[in-house]
Symmetry: C2
Subunit: 323 residues, 2 copies
Amino acid sequence: MKKYYIGCDLGGTNLRAGLVNIESGEISNLTSVDTLAREGHDAVMVRMVELFRHVLDATGIGIDQLGGIGIGVPGVLDLEKGETLFLPNLPGTWPHVPLRDTISQVMGVPVALLNDARSITYGEWRFGAGRGVDTMACFTLGTGVGGGLVINNRLHLNLGGTAGELGHQTIEPNGLMCGCGNRGCLEAYASASALTTLAFKAVTQGLTTIIGKMVDYDLNQINPKLVYQAALQGDEIAIGIFKEIGYRLGLAIGNIIVSVGPRKVVIAGGVAKAGEFILEPIRQTLKERVYVTRMDEVEIVQAQLGNNSGVMGVAMYTAETAG
Amino acid sequence: MKKYYIGCDLGGTNLRAGLVNIESGEISNLTSVDTLAREGHDAVMVRMVELFRHVLDATGIGIDQLGGIGIGVPGVLDLEKGETLFLPNLPGTWPHVPLRDTISQVMGVPVALLNDARSITYGEWRFGAGRGVDTMACFTLGTGVGGGLVINNRLHLNLGGTAGELGHQTIEPNGLMCGCGNRGCLEAYASASALTTLAFKAVTQGLTTIIGKMVDYDLNQINPKLVYQAALQGDEIAIGIFKEIGYRLGLAIGNIIVSVGPRKVVIAGGVAKAGEFILEPIRQTLKERVYVTRMDEVEIVQAQLGNNSGVMGVAMYTAETAG
């Protein structure tokens, strides 16, 4: 097995790639460019190839030393065919785009695709908060709520890689509409936009909170980081928002614990940076709701690798499957 | 590996055991005696040993030909220690009863314990409705709602064998109290007693149904089989009750599909005998709610082995782990 793989994170806004040393998990020359997804999938693939060549040039690694390229993709994939099926956060449609084989042919190395949340899951399991356990669940709280499972020391990828969509569990049968078409998915309650909406509503309802003042009442400026800063200053509304999201997460995590029985549950993504503000209500909810298993053997922890877990994870996954 | 194992099903009412040919899945001399659980765990263990000796005598199999004994237990176990922890449907408490080692010492063969629903899961996977798929979920609808998962051709037994408790997923956060201490578990909506309660209420509320007449208005006689017979006669209330239970099951099954991605979901236990009355609303619910995966690759099917799947499954499990 070769030592170097490129890991790439295809995001709605940024396209990021770096060279990953799969023995150490170290990333070098991580580079970010605008995705410019509105230009369409062909243009994005051209930019990808440019980015990969740039990373190789910058690191001085020849193509003969490169084991392969892994691409983390935000959406539904067909892993067998190496195609994108549905990428909800990118403009335009990407139905049956042969992303894997196109990049592989142009670059001349093996390429693997993986859902972005599963990439983060694998990165955190190999090098981050999930190290050392055989079974782990990961929830990624971002624009949407993604997820992933490692079961018996294997990334769990059933049904074409769609297994692990932990954000699309129904936690409130007659609840909020979710972007997926269902009602009451966890995603509708625990994503960054769900959080922002809660804060927005609190301000417009005139509740006692410093959030409005923090953005000079330009409510479009509200974001999860700002709500976190308000919570740090003791703002009860901000703290309550994280409590609500933690409660919803607790319901979904409880369901995964009784069914799959992970030793660790890792909370990743932007919203997870709120740390104990969100972890504490998760643990409280589990304490009140999960009785039929050994809860004392399950740890709920924050992700450790920050924004780089996806790049790291998809590179590792590529090394172990396609390289 | 030896060919013959005893499989035993420890129930609240009956204690059943038979000799299982683990090559063919055939059971011989299946014998049932009263559990008499009120006499306490020591008396039950004595009855077990008598039953096992009876089965051996009846089949003419010597103890030297017996590979081991598997016992399916309705409750929470400590698989590592071979102890019972909590058996909600048996009178008296069974905390830290060393069931495995006690029976093993007296009988002189290896013994394995397994939760009863996981025993059924494994039986249906090896010899029944779940044959041939690598990943399967099973829901057992009885006094309670149990469950089990086979993942990548292995019975999934994390957290001391408690993983797979699919009936204790929260499907209605502010819902009915469940016997486990949580609110809104699937079990509170889809067990035999939940079904009976729905029928009971329909009759007392004066709804138009033949159920009351069928029991001469002795409402304690209502049971799932009777509601099924009413449904067969076109009784709309009875059909509606199975629809309601199917809907609740659909919520929980949907959550398992998006997270674990089984190829088959097997519905077992008494309530499952209603067949399409319950399978059809499950499929309808999944159609309306599950979007992010390949639903066309997931089959929802009725169990095939009837009451013997647990005896068969726990014998097979014992052969593969303890024998």
